[in-house]
């Protein structure tokens, strides 16, 4: 039997230069345009030259037929380390993990992690159609409800199993909207009340309109390097404490009621040397409120089945006792394809760097960001999480 070993610690690995290219609902620009703008903003914010970037990690649903290789020539990059990560909602955590080990091993010094997606009027439907082989064979032909229908099946079963009400899920969406109203770049700009949430039109029962993210175009990015590099550049940076990722966990569960986090959560906190209670900001992957609730359980804030209680007992807004998805999350900012995976992490980075502006949580030093995604068939297969700390901690 092969012995499972613990992950080696990160040693002086930092993240810097959180970049968001403000989202738009529809854009005629291509994914390459959005990714190019994000890299330009990285360089500007970090005060480096393009040639200083010697590692690149990109994620995009819509940059086909390009891969990362084509982008190096497109953007005039000469890198010695390159990765293309097509892991959907887990892409940001995965990119961070790859880049961290690359700079730790001196395979690269400065890795640019970027995600960006176009949103043409028809691109969302095309993405749904061509999502995966199992999806194409055995999901999409059943009403073509896309992710909404897949998550609806999960949500309905979860709600029935654990006695979760729509109000419980609504509180997550309503709180995030409150946060988003402080984020000038959020696509959702009007307040959302619980009454409005409950009265929204059904999309794929029990998923209603405000349970869904709005597909849009946009890009997100950050840099990964060693702290000596950051210091030499005079760059404020956040220290990476621990990460996990997992695929196809709990395959024996007939329906998904938990994500892969639950397999790795003990090591996540042990490696970081923190407890869940120590976190100042939690940025979950919020493609649907039900997945957020599942993460509250699986990331160790409460036990399985107690997610609804946990939500009822906490204030999830910026000023609350459990600041969560403080920029508004994908539910209120928009989901810019693979950039949606980055949204929580990049905002969390701003939080611990103290540069979040109107959405800043007071004295935020320690943050957790998670990723989730890829409903290949009947469940989300990918999960990941990272804990990182600001310079003041």
């Amino acid at each position: 039997m092969v012995t499972k070993t613990l992950r080696a610690p990160y040693d002086g690995i930092v993240m810097a230069a959180p970049v968001t290219i403000p989202y738009v609902r529809y854009s005629v620009e291509s994914a390459q345009w959005w990714i190019g703008q994000a890299i330009r903003e990285l360089v500007t914010q970090a005060g480096i030259k393009v040639s200083d970037i010697d590692g690149l990690c990109v994620s995009s649903f819509t940059m086909g037929p390009d891969s990362g290789v084509g982008l190096t020539q497109h953007f005039g990059l000469c890198v010695r380390w390159l990765d293309t990560i097509p892991l959907g909602g887990a892409s940001a955590i995965a990119a961070l993990r790859r880049a961290a080990r690359a700079v730790q091993a001196h395979d690269a010094d400065i890795v640019a992690c970027v995600a960006g997606d176009a949103n043409h009027v028809d691109s969302f439907r095309l993405t749904l159609e061509n999502f995966s082989r199992f999806n194409q064979d055995a999901v999409y032909p059943y009403g073509a409800g896309g992710a909404n229908s897949s998550f609806a099946l999960i949500a309905r079963n979860y709600m029935r199993t654990y006695g979760v009400t729509r109000e419980d899920l609504g509180k997550i969406a309503v709180s995030q909207r409150a946060n988003a109203l402080r984020n000038p770049h959020a696509l959702m700009k009007s307040p959302l009340t619980m009454e409005q949430y409950l009265a929204a039109r059904p999309i794929s029962d029990p998923i209603h309109l405000f349970d869904c993210v709005m597909p849009c175009a946009g890009a997100e990015a950050f840099l990964v390097m060693r702290d000596d590099t950051a210091k030499s550049l005079g760059l404020p940076a956040a220290k990476l404490l621990s990460t996990i990722e997992r695929y196809n966990a709990f395959a024996e569960d007939p329906m998904q009621v938990r994500g892969g986090w639950a397999m790795d959560i003990d090591e996540l906190y042990a490696m970081a040397g923190v407890k869940p209670d120590d976190l100042d900001v939690v940025q979950t992957y919020d493609d649907y409120p039900v997945i957020v609730m599942m993460q509250f359980e699986d990331l160790g804030f409460c036990r399985k089945g107690e997610g609804a209680d946990f939500v009822r007992q906490h204030d999830l807004t910026i000023g609350g006792d459990f600041p969560h998805n403080v920029s508004g999350g994908q539910l209120s900012v928009g989901q810019a394809g693979a950039a949606g995976a980055y949204l929580g992490l990049v905002e969390g980075l701003r939080q611990v760097l103290g540069t979040a502006g109107p959405t800043q949580v007071k004295d935020a030093k320690l943050a957790l960001a998670s990723g989730f995604g890829m409903i290949n068939y009947d469940r989300g297969l990918a999960s990941g999480a990272a804990i990182f700390a600001g310079p003041s901690r």
Partner: protein
Amino acid sequence: MIEPIKPPGRKNPLLRTRLPTAPPRPRSRKSHGFTRAAAEGRFMLQCCEACGTFCYPAREACPSCLSSGLAFVDAPRRGTLLSETTARVPSDVYFRERAPWRAGLIKMDCGPIIIAHLHADCVETAAVLMSFQLDKSGQAVAFARPEGETPNMADDRQWRELTADPKFRRVLVTNGRSVVGQEAAMALKAAGAKTVFVGIAEPWRPFPGESALRGHEGIEIVALDAADEKSVNDLAADIGGKVDILVNTTEYVRAGGLLDRRGTSVMRDEIDQAYLGFVNLAQGFGPAMRMRGADGVNNAAAWVNVLSVYALANWPAFGAYSASQAACLSLSHCLRAELRPGGVKVVNLFTGPVDNEWFQTVPPPKVAPRAVASAIVSALKNGLEDVYVGDVAEEIRQRLAANPKALERELDR
């Protein structure tokens, strides 16, 4: 509880006829194992030859042991509906105009999880029976229905999208001179067809069974000689816009093969009647049917060919006839592809020798014309594509699958 569908009223001529759209079509090559199962009305799943694990969706390797030996085998149909959803704003045009659309996730008793279209009477946490059906793209989809019978079960809206039930539809049986044609007309009428048009070639020639056919309520005799282009076009001009199901019962059977026949005139007749007749019917009726694939409750739904099972393997005693049937079989695949954009099914019935005068000297078992007729109705009601009627046809199917060469040698007797 399903409300019975109502007989459709007359069409409003001021409204544009809804054009057919199709559900998503792309599939992996492997998943056409389900297409094959659905075509024959079987429920098959991949089962690992090494470890016995059933799996789904279609895979290239067993998720339990990574063996590539995943054979499609008949599988237990029972499962439990774990969760359901109703898609109300699908992104795809076909489903959007049919929304709300109900689908669910079923845990099969034999293991796999299957996402399926749901019969309206399926209940969460209760048992369901699974089948594979062909949708309007011609692709296999899983369909779950309650374990027991429920009232008006066949009238379920989503089920009707996958079938071609004759209820309230108008049917053309192309050849009412044959007993098969007459039985088919009666059976379709009994199955709820609004009108059954029955084609009679050379109406000046009387034929047995004529008076029963003429006196039958809802059966309308029309002049139709499928082998005559003009006759077909004249009839299509008359009724082409209201034929929802066309049942091609052309029958031209002559014994004999090649060497003991002199010349080509019998061959020509066989080709004229069976093959060119099919061509004429397709050209006459196909375009309107393809256009009317989504035209309400009584939309164009299916084209049925009654073929000999010897279309699949030549029987030298009826060798030239077998060849004419093989030509029709090949053509049916072309027709299937061309009618597909309309969502119109092409059903092939493969019969063994029918109990009629042309197979008089052939020993039993033979297929009763009535059995062919009920197989037609059943194929339409269940949305099948390939149907083997009678013991001989079923045996040929199995022997062909086992070893086509052995079948060829053994048919030469």
